[in-house]
């Protein structure tokens, strides 16, 4: 078995494309079911899901994915789509809310119980999500894993699944746009986000200085810069959203004494 999308047959490309088409269709069906019982599912969430799926699809199948095994800068572009922009868009399409609304009540209850369980709480803690996300990237780019991934299809799939899953977990653990049973204070999330941003920035400069195995120094410099500035752009949005949630939560409310006089 050979590794990476560079050696995939056209049949494998078509199958890959069909999976993403199916996922988009599944979301539409779920939204239609939800619309029967709840307020209409907002348009922007459909857009987020479709564009998010396109981001992930582009990084895994098609010309971008084929080039990414030989060109480190293209690989990094794929990484931004798979690990940052894709997960962000998917989080904003609120798939968990949609799942709970479109499944029968007993099943929805079981899913909720699972989300509230202790293991889920530990994994969905932003500190754990940061470790999985940023820590995973450090392991990928500073060990032989990056090279090994391109020689084993299984490893390739596991790494790419991890990059997306950790990116998604990281996003939903910091921004509460979907179902979030275990909520943490703004301060805690702000500090963890800052540490994660620093970890990402430091790694991108490290890649710039020490190219991963198999990447030329010129490619590593381009890839490192893309990771640094691309990361900043996505982080800008995360920070903006987090601060906006703080701004909304501390809005001045009329004091209780004032409400009494109004009565």
């Amino acid at each position: 078995m050979s590794g990476g999308p560079a050696s995939w047959t056209s049949w494998e490309w078509i199958m890959g494309g069909l999976i993403f088409a199916l996922l988009i269709l599944l979301y539409m069906v779920a939204a239609a079911i939800s619309n029967r019982n709840y307020r209409n599912w907002p348009l922007h969430r459909y857009v987020c899901w479709v564009v998010g799926m396109l981001c992930i699809g582009l990084s895994l199948i098609g010309p971008l994915a084929r080039l990414s095994t030989t060109n480190f800068m293209i690989h990094m572009l794929g990484h931004l789509l798979l690990g940052m922009l894709g997960p962000l868009l998917i989080a904003f399409s609120a798939p968990m809310t949609l799942l709970l609304r479109s499944t029968p009540v007993p099943l929805a209850r079981r899913i909720t119980r699972l989300l509230k369980s202790k293991p889920a709480q530990i994994v969905a803690h932003p500190a754990a999500a940061t470790l999985l996300n940023i820590g995973g990237l450090w392991v990928l780019y500073t060990t032989g894993l990056f090279m090994a991934m391109h020689h084993s299809l299984l490893l390739y799939i596991v790494v790419h699944f991890h990059v997306f899953a950790a990116g998604y977990l990281f996003t939903v653990s910091l921004l509460y746009v979907d179902v979030a049973p275990h909520r943490l204070s703004f301060q805690t999330r702000a500090i963890i986000l800052m540490i994660a941003m620093a970890g990402h920035g430091i790694l991108s400069k490290y890649i710039y200085a020490y190219p991963p195995d198999g990447a030329s120094s010129e490619q590593a410099e381009l890839g490192g810069m893309l990771m640094y500035y691309g990361g900043d752009a996505i982080d800008l949005f995360l920070v903006y959203w987090l601060c906006m949630q703080w701004y909304k939560s501390v809005r001045p409310r009329p004091a209780a004494s004032m409400l009494q006089t109004l009565d």
Partner: protein, 162 residues
């Protein structure tokens, strides 16, 4: 005679005087960080994305500071909006915070990062001394003026006036 509105403003300013300073400090940190990166790195190309590949502590401190200043710029803007919303914005005190935060970052950059860690210099292939003196003296000046403004807008002086 002071109108009721100014009086309400003053009591709100006193209640949120700390937030005025903090918003300024964070904004100042972010501002100087941004100027450093945009002007010196990207426009003038005086120093670069990565100047040295040996000082690992420098790499980490640089990364932390960048993340912090990126966050501070956005966070402080929301704090500023919150102060306006509460009619508690205090321009003089806020500017004091900016000068203190910006000056402190500039001095840290000039002494710790440039000289102690030798992470990067302001400029290369020139006599570096005038650049260092200008950079650090501006930083000290900003800190001093910032402290004076913050002290002169303490709650005590204001409540005595009122």
């Amino acid at each position: 005679m002071k109108s009721a509105k100014t009086k309400e403003n003053q009591s709100q300013r006193i209640r949120y005087s700390a937030r005025n300073v903090w918003s300024g400090i964070l904004f100042g940190l972010g501002l100087v960080g941004f100027i450093d990166e945009a002007v010196f790195h990207q426009l003038l190309h005086w120093h670069h994305f990565y100047d040295k590949s040996t000082s690992d502590i420098g790499l980490v401190s640089d990364g932390l500071f960048h993340a912090f200043s990126w966050f501070a710029t956005i966070g402080s803007s929301f704090m500023l909006a919150d102060l306006h919303r509460r009619h508690a914005f205090w321009l003089k005190r806020w500017i004091g915070g900016i000068l203190l935060g910006g000056g402190a970052f500039q001095l840290y950059d000039g002494i710790i990062q440039h000289k102690w860690m030798r992470l990067h210099q302001i400029r290369y292939n020139v006599d570096i001394r005038p650049y260092d003196w200008v950079w650090n003296l501006i930083a000290v000046g900003m800190i001093l003026v910032g402290i004076i403004l913050i002290v002169r807008t303490q709650n005590r002086t204001l409540s005595r006036e009122a």
